[in-house]
């Protein structure tokens, strides 16, 4: 049979169809890659070996590409230095005069602080070692805000390490390889940072959205923030040390509170990577798990089964929350209890209060913050402090104290004859959630 007679000889697969089929196959493969991508772990395995390899290659390339910009900047600076030397000299002299006064104040405060530390027997954290790196690439799109630094695992950098410029916090490390590390900026849409307002000690989660000014989410309390308030890292969750400068709060055009980042004051070319290990990395978890449970309190009555307590506690909670009280029905409180906040705050809640007290005294500035607000070292006391700021909430302020009392005397909650006990039992039952609000 000749080729012309063969019916298959006439069959031609149209190129458009094959191109369409290839397109669909490639699209399915791309979607599969996207769905299987896992970055949430922020360890090297989750970051992915292709990424670490590409970062390793990109670091020297970025260094070469950014070199002309650096040289131009240095040239402009030297020319400006030549022409403006006199005015610069005058400005520096004035600044030096001002700084001398501050130096005296700082020495006096350090002396006082040391005396207090000795008197109180405070356990202060050791200074955090740092590694210096230069930023070599910078991605600024709406879906990813990250930078590549030219220092990596050879300097002891680990995923999660905070990154700072000379002005403030920049972000944290999410991927490390030899000679390069990727910094997830505070502005990245995936970035969440526990912060606090310096003036009111109110907590919030700094949430990036790809724009230059990340927003303050989960703010709690009445008027917790004002324009111009300083925003610092809170140290909650242990990912960042407490007290790193983040920026200044401003009201955005969309009505949300946002932060003008301190690190945006100047180009971020050199950064300090804090080789900070959080509490969960330092603690011997296996040892804690092996520890035997504490013996029962002598003379304590047996706890009723949880099934029996739960309905009584629920029924008692309703009358306890009075109209106008506000504490139990505030929308902000509900927002704070949403699962979205849980990743950071769960870790904070898992920590003993002692660890928070230890983090609170990291730096001179942090020591000052701790000095001003000693009550925050225990979660119950912190809650009381937060509610004390609201004069209208006098009744509410008493409630945390009651729950704190119930914590100290758990046996009181089980006496069936005491009419108040269901409320106390409820407070006792909800106790693990309290550090979240601290």
């Amino acid at each position: 049979m000749s080729l012309r007679d063969n019916p298959l000889g006439e069959l031609k697969v149209p190129l458009t169809w094959t191109a369409g089929i290839v397109f669909i196959v490639v699209l399915i493969a791309s979607v599969a890659i996207l769905l299987t991508d896992r970055r949430e772990g922020f360890d090297t395995d989750a970051y992915g070996h292709p990424r670490t390899l590409s970062d390793k290659v990109m670091a020297p390339v970025g260094e070469v590409l950014s070199a002309p910009g650096r040289w131009t900047g240095a040239g402009v600076d030297s020319v400006k230095g030549y022409f403006f030397a006199v005015s610069e000299n005058q400005r520096l002299k004035a600044e030096l005069k001002d700084m001398r006064q501050w130096r005296d104040v700082a020495i006096a405060l350090r002396d006082t602080n040391e005396r207090y530390q000795t008197l109180l027997g405070l356990k202060t954290d050791p200074p955090i070692p740092m590694a210096t790196a230069r930023i070599v690439t910078d991605s600024r799109g709406p879906f990813a805000n990250s930078r590549l630094a030219d220092a990596g695992s050879e300097k002891g950098i680990l995923p999660g390490n905070p990154v700072m410029s000379e002005n403030g916090l920049v972000g944290r490390i999410v991927g490390v390889t030899e000679g390069a590390s990727r910094v997830l900026l505070l502005t990245d849409v995936a970035s969440r940072t526990p912060v606090m307002i310096d003036r009111t000690n109110a907590r919030a989660i700094l949430t990036g959205d790809g724009g230059p000014n990340p927003q303050l989410a989960y703010l709690r309390g009445l008027d917790p923030v004002k324009n111009g308030d300083r925003v610092l890292t809170s140290g909650d969750g242990g990912v960042f040390p407490r007290g790193l400068p983040v920026g200044v709060a401003v009201k955005g055009l969309d009505g949300r509170w946002r932060v003008v980042l301190a690190s945006d004051r100047a180009p971020v070319d050199y950064v300090r990577i804090l080789l900070f290990q959080d509490f969960t990395q330092l603690v011997n978890r296996a040892g804690l798990d092996r520890a035997p449970p504490p013996p029962p309190t002598p003379g304590a009555s047996t706890l009723p089964p949880p099934e029996a307590v739960a309905p009584a506690a629920t029924g008692a909670a309703k009358p306890a929350a009075k109209p106008g009280d506000g504490s139990a029905t505030k929308p902000d409180d509900k927002a704070a209890a949403t699962p979205a906040k849980s990743s950071t705050d769960k870790a904070a809640a898992d920590k003993p209060a002692a660890s928070k007290a230890a983090t609170a005294d990291k730096k001179p500035s942090e020591g000052k913050a701790a000095e001003k607000k000693p009550a925050e070292k225990t979660p119950a006391a912190a809650k009381a402090t937060a509610t004390d700021k609201k004069p209208a909430d006098g009744k509410t302020a008493a409630k945390p104290s009651a729950s704190a009392a119930s914590t100290q005397k758990p046996t009181d909650a089980k006496k069936p004859t005491d009419a108040k006990k269901p409320t106390d039992a409820k407070a006792h039952a909800t106790k693990p959630a309290e550090p979240v609000h601290g």
């Binding site: 190129l15 397109f23 490639v26 699209l27 996207l34 991605s139 709406p142 879906f143 959205d209 790809g210």
Partner: protein
Amino acid sequence: MASRGGAQPLTPWRWLGLPALQAAGMTLLFLAPLRFWGYGLPEPVFALPVVFAWAVIRPSMLAPMGVMVLGLFLDLVWGSPTGLWPVCLLLPYGMVLAGRGMLAGQGRLMMWVWFGAATAVALGAGYIFTMFDTQNAPDPLTVGYQFLATVILYPFADRLIERFEDADVRFR
């Protein structure tokens, strides 16, 4: 825009490889951490004009793979989730490929509008995927800024189309 030297033969290296490399090079160049008067450089998606032109020039089996490689490259250098940009580039590619019949014979301005629509599809897909991935909506203003920075790149796509659209008479 008049082509230089008329239509070029459709060698894969000439119409797929070289433009992809140029787009990758420009992307790397704009990764430099430079600031002018306090503002950083914009971050246009240089791959989009190339992807748009590939879909207009002719259907091809190699082009979708090239789009995917370009997208993976963007993910690696920009630090976005792996697979985000392949999907974001393939969707407008498929849209333009399906609408080639409507695009035939259109003027430059109309093609620019089509390119704007393709860019909007790419960034819209990125917006939605990022929103689902991070449980947080990206800033629309920043997306709009990247849209504008990308849309003005249409002349690059136009040049590529002018050079190669007549090369394969089967698909004119």
